[in-house]
């Protein structure tokens, strides 16, 4: 089977690249081995949150100080602002409405109550523009009885540390109580499935209206809207006070929705999303990759003019570490990683870890290298790239979105 472009990996970067290419009329297939880490995203994108241990307020300015090997430096720092705007528009096209600016970070609130710098946040999620100038005083934190995915105490404490007065208000409804029959089901995604209907939302609104009358803003865990934001908008009209959602522990409802909307949009554009299949090997001819074999398609390989490696990092098994080495398991392309196993990690789990920055080696145009030489029609994008650190630098989702768009540009420019 022949495509214009085949993308290995169906997460944020793979879908973004696939959408950009399909929009320009390309025949694209995405091979996605299971759900991606997008399911763990609480509803924010980060461009650049921290450089050399210092919090970044203006990502566009801070870009200039990044080392040569960082994916942003490879794309070209002067292109970042435009690509960032295009990424925001692409997300909006799929139905993901986010606010924020690449020029100035705002603050998202983690489920543990920590404020972290962010570039874009879902319009329905609670975020803070300026920590020195809080948007209001009194927050009502609605705590769902028996809910697993929100450490309420830590969240409330974190918000108090930021300067808010927080009322923790426990509540339940008949729909929520029914779910508690199966205690393992008190998860964000299960609640989202059972709180979808208008009458269930009305019962939630009734509780909020009777219990949270003194708050400036009401905060509810993000447990509505698995496939769209209709539920949130309905609930907003039913609640008397301004209503915002706060991210939960994963799998996150917002992440599931983003994944669903992007996949749906990609399919609408004629893209093929091969869910649950995985690339197993590639066939090279000189400096070109000609085809990949997948587990499910078996003896019928996927051929294409261009290939994109968007398989994610260790957690998605785009990179594999065994007792001796770190490698890219599908195509066997070069990786930037220490050969000395003792240097992979640092003592102390919260310390910056070397392996966070490991990834596949690429040239300046993000072509993968194979035995030191660039593969002319194979690019890498997203978390699998070396030279960035999603955990410590807060650049993971930004790298995924922007490298995806930059590579889509290179592919269609030919």
């Amino acid at each position: 089977m022949r495509m214009d472009t085949v993308i290995i990996g169906g997460g944020l970067s793979g879908l973004t690249c696939g959408i950009a290419l399909a929009k320009r009329g390309q025949r694209v297939a995405i091979v996605a081995s299971g759900q991606s880490t997008l399911m763990f995203n609480g509803g924010s994108m980060e461009l650049l949150g921290c450089v050399d241990g210092k919090t970044v307020t203006s990502p566009l300015q801070a870009m200039a100080t990044l080392p040569q090997g960082h994916p942003y430096s490879k794309i070209g720092v002067d292109r970042i602002a435009t690509l960032a705007e295009r990424a925001t528009q692409l997300l909006a096209d799929t139905g993901i409405s986010m606010t924020g600016s690449a020029a100035a970070n705002h603050w998202r609130i983690t489920p543990m109550g920590v404020a972290k710098p962010a570039w874009l946040t879902l319009s329905e999620n609670f975020s803070i523009q300026d920590l020195d100038n809080l948007p209001c005083k009194r927050l009502a934190l609605m705590c769902i009885r028996g809910f697993f995915d929100e450490p309420n105490g830590m969240l409330a404490h974190g918000l108090q540390q930021l300067g808010f007065e927080v009322d923790k208000i426990e509540f339940t409804t008949t729909d929520i109580t029914a779910l508690r029959r199966s205690p393992s089901e008190m998860r964000a995604s299960s609640l989202a499935k059972h709180l979808g209907g208008n009458s269930a939302l009305q019962r939630v609104a009734d509780q909020i209206n009777s219990l949270a009358s003194h708050a400036d803003i009401v905060l509810l865990p993000s447990v509505i809207g698995q496939s769209d934001d209709d539920g949130y908008r309905t609930l907003k009209t039913l609640v008397n006070k301004p209503l915002q959602l706060v991210a939960t522990l994963p799998p996150s409802v917002a992440g599931m929705r983003m994944q669903t909307l992007m996949r749906h949009y990609f399919r609408m554009l004629g893209g093929n999303y091969l869910m649950g299949d995985s690339a197993v090997s590639g066939t090279f001819d000189g400096d070109r990759l000609t085809a990949i074999t997948t587990a499910k398609l078996g003896d019928m390989p996927l051929k294409a003019d261009n290939f994109v490696l968007a398989a994610g990092s260790f957690v998605s098994r785009g990179l594999v570490a065994d007792y001796e080495r770190i490698y890219e398991p599908v195509l066997g392309v070069d990786v930037d990683a220490d050969t000395d196993r003792d240097r992979w990690t640092s003592f102390g789990v919260l310390q910056p870890q070397q392996y966070f920055r490991y990834g596949v080696a690429t040239d300046q145009q993000l072509h993968c290298l194979r035995q030191g030489k660039p593969v002319a029609n194979l690019h890498a994008i997203g978390s699998i790239l070396s030279g960035h650190d999603a955990v410590k630098m807060g650049d993971g989702t930004g790298v995924s979105l922007l490298t995806a768009l930059a590579v889509a540009d290179s592919i269609t420019a030919r």
């Binding site: 759900q35 199966s182 089901e185 799998p251 669903t260 091969l274 869910m275 299949d277 499910k296």
Partner: protein, 421 residues
């Protein structure tokens, strides 16, 4: 040494690879509509840890699993969650006899043979309200269900009378595993396949012996019978693949999945030498066209707007690509690819009275997508999805092979493939 150590750590069904991320539970269609089912993570790898300790931890709620395999498709860690659940059910059912109702529903071929003999009576009777009420109360087969109509003539009878003698004349050959549905309920699909294959120069042949693939037997706990029938099928397919050098084509995604993947996973039947010789017809035809071995010519005036529904087992096999891309070759066809959602029937599951409401609740998301797609028909590779979608949306549902047969200009295609009369 290190690698050997890692190999020692591997257990059946990738059980220990589960990272407890819960993604499987978020895609489970059953957990989405009922709190009676604990979801695949709990029912599968989590529960398995307890069951390994003591089989008494087996939870009866596991029978609510549809075996749709969506949990496995979503799992980022490659855990065979549904297989773990099915194996647990299998183990717990040892020594128990399946009920009369389950045995009847599971024996699609026996039921089919009897019904074919008296098709007009069977169809009329099965559709009557009193019959439905008796089946509902005595057999616990839900009264809202419409049994698929039985054909008066079996596919194999039609084939032997009208098609068999012409097949040797073609330059290339395939065998056909028609399955119960084509044989007893809907011979037209088999006829459509013969029409398409003949038009591109392929003679179609039946297997020496074909028995029901057993997908419904497995679902209803009749493992021994499934294995017995599986042995017959594997032997027949082995002869076709290894002796006659035929690819064995199918037109049902569930039969295909069962023959290729469930035989080794559920019934311990070794099919490794013939697995690659079993292919869905759409995959086989797509590949012939893709490799420019055959040409398809379509009717000039053909114009339709249809939606494609990916059946759960089709998605598990990962072959929807072939049916979709094959349909996209038809110039007059406006194809809407639906987001993959379970239709809720899952073979015989939705026929059972205790499952009816749940089955319809599960399917409601898909039915809504279909309604929003504004199409005149739906295409899918699974016959039970067909019954469910036809009953629930009122739209006709066709196998992609039938869509293809309908759109094909047979004479022009024969000419394009250098076939003379």
């Amino acid at each position: 040494m290190a690698e050997r150590m890692q190999l020692c750590n591997l257990s059946e069904n990738n059980f220990e690879q589960c990272t407890k991320c819960s993604i499987c539970t978020t895609v489970c269609p059953v957990a989405a509509v009922t709190t009676d089912y604990p979801g695949p993570k709990q029912a599968g790898p989590d529960g398995e840890r307890y069951r390994l300790k003591d089989p008494a931890y087996y939870d009866k709620a596991l029978k609510l699993c549809l075996n749709c395999k969506r949990c496995e498709v979503a799992c980022p860690s490659g855990v065979h969650i549904a297989d773990i659940i099915q194996r647990a059910r299998m183990k717990a059912s040892e020594g128990h006899r399946a009920s009369l109702r389950d045995t009847m529903l599971a024996n699609t071929d026996l039921l089919g043979t009897m019904a074919n003999l008296v098709a007009p009576i069977a169809n009329a009777t099965l559709g009557l309200k009193p019959t439905k009420l008796v089946m509902d109360s005595v057999m616990a087969i839900d009264k809202n269900r419409t049994f698929p109509a039985y054909s008066r003539q079996k596919f194999t009878t039609w084939f032997k009378r009208h098609a068999a003698k012409d097949q040797d004349a073609y330059p290339n050959h395939v065998s056909y595993f028609h399955g119960c549905y084509v044989n007893y309920n809907f011979p037209k699909l088999g006829q459509d396949l013969v029409k398409v294959m003949n038009a591109i120069g392929y003679g179609v042949h039946l297997l020496d012996k074909e028995q029901c693939c057993g997908v419904a037997l497995i679902a209803n706990g009749l493992y021994k019978q499934a294995k017995r029938q599986g042995r017959v099928n594997v032997a027949s397919i082995r002869k076709a693949v290894n002796m006659d050098h035929h690819t064995v084509l199918t037109t049902s995604s569930s039969c295909t999945f069962n023959l290729r993947d469930e035989y080794p996973a559920m019934l311990d039947l070794d099919n490794s030498d013939i697995r690659d010789g079993i292919s869905l017809a759409t995959r086989f035809i797509y590949n012939l066209v893709d490799e420019e071995k055959v040409k398809l010519v379509f009717k000039q005036d053909y114009k339709r707007r249809i939606a494609y529904h990916t059946a759960c087992h089709m998605q598990r096999m990962g072959w929807q690509l072939y049916s979709i891309e094959l349909l996209r070759m038809i110039p007059g066809l406006d194809l809407q690819v639906l987001e993959q959602e379970c239709c809720g029937i899952s073979g015989t599951y939705g026929f059972k009275k205790e499952n009816y409401e749940r089955s319809q609740a599960i399917g409601s998301i898909l039915f809504k997508h279909i309604e929003n797609a504004h199409v005149e028909a739906v295409a899918t590779d699974c016959e039970t999805c067909k019954w469910q979608i036809e009953m629930s949306t009122g739209l006709p549902v066709e196998n992609p092979v039938s869509v293809l047969a309908d759109a094909l200009d047979v004479e022009a295609t024969r000419k394009a493939n250098n076939l003379t009369d």
